[in-house]
């Protein structure tokens, strides 16, 4: 076993020790198909939680999105995101001539699965913020990739904003039935429908 793999196992173990990181699958099975998971975003811990809740064999092919300027700033951060998580790096500053979604499209072309948080930033209220349009563009470009909604519960209590040490509190990730882009569906309509699918999982959980 190589170091990143071992570090990944340790990290997943710690995440489970602290949060339980239970994955509940409703209307969808944990299968090794190409997927885009999209979830509510409340904490820095969200990605680790989804990742730890996935079965081990799905983790390697499921990649997070990381801001290039922050996550490559120090060797350690870079190593963690590159070697353990195999993150897709995106730039926060857009130049006019390049598509900010290009790294994501590239990953999807390679057959990888992605986890995205369509709210853009961490939410504060009880309800997730309106979704940004990236999800729509990805769904248009890759209609055959399944879009799986996920609701992350309780994680804001584990590590509130401004704290660095997580408190052990049980969290769940509920994965729901795939949402598909209907032919000719409006962007806003689709994004609201996707957001509703995420919120609906709160009740199922």
């Amino acid at each position: 076993m190589k170091l990143p793999e071992a570090a990944g196992l340790v990290l997943a173990f710690v995440a489970r020790l602290i949060t339980g990181a239970q994955g509940h699958w409703h209307g969808v099975a944990p299968k090794a198909e190409q997927r885009i998971y999209f979830a509510n975003h409340q904490s820095h811990f969200d990605w680790v939680l989804i990742w730890a809740a996935l079965p081990r064999d799905l983790r390697a092919a499921t990649r997070p999105i990381a801001a290039r300027d922050y996550w490559t700033a120090t060797p350690l951060r870079h190593w963690i995101t590159r070697e353990i998580f195999n993150a897709v790096y995106v730039s926060r500053e857009h130049k006019d001539d390049e598509d900010p979604l290009e790294p994501l499209l590239e990953a999807l072309r390679r057959g990888d699965s992605l986890v995205i948080f369509p709210e853009g930033t961490r939410g504060h209220g009880a309800e997730p913020a309106p979704f940004k349009s990236g999800l729509y563009s990805l769904a248009q470009a890759f209609p055959e990739v399944q879009l799986i909604p996920a609701w992350i519960d309780n994680v804001q209590r584990v590590m509130p904003k401004g704290e660095v040490v997580p408190v052990p509190i049980l969290c769940t990730v509920t994965f729901g039935a795939p949402v598909a882009l209907a032919p000719g569906e409006e962007r806003r309509v689709f994004l609201d429908r996707a957001r509703d699918a995420v919120i609906a999982l709160r009740e199922v959980a």
Binding site: Q22, H24, V165, T172
Partner: protein, 322 residues
Amino acid sequence: MGLRSLSVSQQVGLLFVTLFGLLTLATLVAFVRSLRESTTPAEDAAQERMARELRAIWIGALLFWISWAAGPFVSTLLFGFVSFFALREFVTLTHTRRGDHRSLLLAFFVVLPLQYVLVGTRLFNAFTVFIPVYVFFAIPVVSALANDPLNFLERTAKIQWGITVCVYGMSHAPALLLLELPNWHERGAFLVFYLVVVVATAQLAQGLASRRLRRRPVARAISRSFSWRAWGAGAAAAAIVGALLYWTTPFKPLPALAMGAIAGATGTLGEFVMQALKRDAGVRSWSGRASVTGAVGLLDRVAPLCFAAPVFFHSVRWYFGI
């Protein structure tokens, strides 16, 4: 061949052989019964519940065996983890606020390990007062420093209560394992075994009695089944089994009867209190089924022990005057 003529390790070995033998037998019976076609959904549910209970008892028995075989360090560590998981579940059920973060960190990463270090090093006097005295005053200080006055007393009380039940109560189980009694060297496993058996007996007998007697519940809003008569039946059964098991303990038959009654009665009361807590937290599904938060029902299982262990531990110490 009398049991007392065997060496200590032989006695303990016999204890575990008997325990695992009985468990294997029960598992086989349950397996054979599960092969039969079941007719009603109620039967299915009963079988499923039985399987879940058996699994829990297996885990408990294995934990007990490992902790005995591996010595004080590992046993303290194992019970420490059980405490950790129970407290994690407790904190999940009680709705803490942002301002509680530091107090919770203190509880999980300072108080809990320290309490188990005190047990492991057999500093029983410090272990007895550490949480009731020092932690009791430390937690509200840390909470107050978080600068959030909303529901301050309630929030602090919840954390205190969680620590007392899940850490302080639970830590008395390994303490029993490590307690040195006169003429009772290295046989703490028997005390833990005795405690677990009498508490389990009390729970079972109380459950049976409440189904048979159909008395009016004392507190319907909290438990549909708890009545004084059933509780008394549970304590009586625990007392009888305790007296029958006197030869596994350092007690004479009559004190063993009293100890059994004390442990059984406190254990079932602990279970009752935990039901009240779960009602308050709005938990609908009961032991074993994952609830909204993914809580797995560990708290249900260990609560009777968490309540009974400290009372039993101090009764034992008081009885022997140590």
